[in-house]
Amino acid sequence: MRAFVTVGSTRFDALIQEVIKEDILLSLSRSGYDEVSIQCGNSSFEFSSSVADGSVHDIERAEVSVSCWKFKPNLEEEYEEADLVISHAGSGTILDVLRKGKRLIVVPNETLLDNHQHELAIALEEKNHLKSSTIADLAQTINEINTAQLTPFPPHDGKLFAGVLDITMGFI
């Protein structure tokens, strides 16, 4: 199985540093993951100099093949191939991943001043669509998520906004 770690367009040093540690990779490999793809963005970590020129850095650790890279124009394919996504709590990533029906662990970046990312993660966890975690609890959350009964996220309903607009503009 394959796990995909993503931090979006910015950086999240603590998350990237954590997911390449032996104990997190061990949790992943015990849960059946043998591949981990890491989109590290501008995060500073062990291999940040190796990926600085846009190349992919591959390592083998705790029986998991890990590949790190900075950015791709489109992450759709990565989401498709993944069985589990571990991400910062960006709303765009959350919507994309949940709409693909993938298991998602979000780790809100506590160092950001504006904590509304955290609010969204908690609200969606309350609805049982994903698991919200912290750097310290990440290994534990990885152990739990495979057996967790998550509620499928509702597909996009384009009729909702169309209905509002049709009424406003006099079509209905």
Binding site: S91, E119, L120, G158, L160, F161, G170
Partner: protein, 294 residues
């Protein structure tokens, strides 16, 4: 010898101080009138949103939407993707300067919608970039459509990420002036040229141009800050009693328990203020909730 004009001109006989006092009182009166007018047209103080044009006499609605980059762009395009593009055309996508990704995503959506229409029916549909604009007018007789089914309009950012608060008023003003050009000035000029073209035609060939034909009928906003400049330009139109679009503000899906700064600032001015989490209705006081729109 005294110039006769000096005596005739009112300013010539007026002292500098009284001239200043006169111009000051004129500006105070003008500002007061503008503020009173603004208050009388606010959506929640009894003013009405622009009345939608009569359907089915106008089978199409000119739509505009601001793509605020990143998550805002995804949310706006997700909302627009559910619309019937035959009804909502032509479409205007406002993007921030330098945000080529949002422009590409808009083009991508337009392409996807065309493909979807092709698959669902066998009728001829126009190519996505208006390359066959003649085909469009043949298959869909729409009085508002001039050429392309959509266009992308670039406006300068009101404030860049991490920009200092000190220089923000300057960039915000540049952004506002650009919005005023696209929302107030350009439609006004188009209306004038359309009228003069109509007057040059032989009589009775077609109906006169509709009042709001060159103005967007609805403006969909989702944030961030630059969308306030678009809203301000819309209000300039309303103060001047020019045609103006209905403002629909949809708060970001990421906002669960507190409104964004853009949301709080735009709330008194939006004709429809929509949130995507019901618990926000408590803090927002006014607003609507229709489920997740993105």
């Amino acid at each position: 010898m005294d110039s006769p004009f000096a005596r005739m001109s009112p300013l010539g006989t007026m002292s500098l101080s009284s001239a200043l006092a006169l111009s000051a009182s004129v500006s105070v009166v003008c500002a007061t009138i503008a503020v009173l007018r603004l208050f009388s047209i606010l959506p929640h103080s009894g003013g009405d949103a622009p009345k939608p044009r009569l359907r089915p006499h106008h089978p199409t609605c000119k739509l505009s939407v601001f793509l605020g980059s990143g998550g805002h762009t995804s949310e706006s395009l997700a909302m627009i993707s559910g619309l019937d593009f035959k009804k909502y055309q032509p479409r205007v996508y406002y993007v921030s300067e330098g945000d080529t990704l949002s422009a590409h995503k808009a083009i991508e959506l337009e392409r996807r919608k065309i493909d979807a229409t092709r698959e669902s029916s066998n009728e001829v549909v126009p190519s996505y970039h208006g390359a066959n604009s003649n085909d469009i007018s043949r298959t869909q007789p729409t009085p508002d459509l001039e050429g392309e089914p959509y266009k992308i309009v670039v406006i300068p950012r009101a404030r860049r990420v991490h920009q200092s608060l000190l220089t923000t008023p300057v960039t915000a003003l540049v952004s506002l002036l650009s919005c005023i050009y696209f929302i107030t000035v350009q439609p006004f000029l188009q209306r004038k040229s359309r009228k003069s073209r109509f007057n040059q035609r032989p009589r009775g060939t077609s109906s006169p141009p509709a009042g709001g034909a060159d103005q967007n009928e609805v403006l969909v906003l989702n944030g961030p800050g630059t969308c306030l400049m678009l809203a301000a330009a819309v209000y300039l139109n309303r103060i001047l009693a020019l045609p103006s679009p209905v403002i629909i503000y949809v708060e970001s899906f990421a906002r669960v328990s507190s409104l964004s700064l853009s949301g709080r600032l735009i709330q008194p001015f939006a004709d429809r203020f929509i949130v995507q989490w019901p618990q926000l209705l408590r803090s927002a006081k006014t607003g609507e909730y229709h489920g997740w729109l993105v």
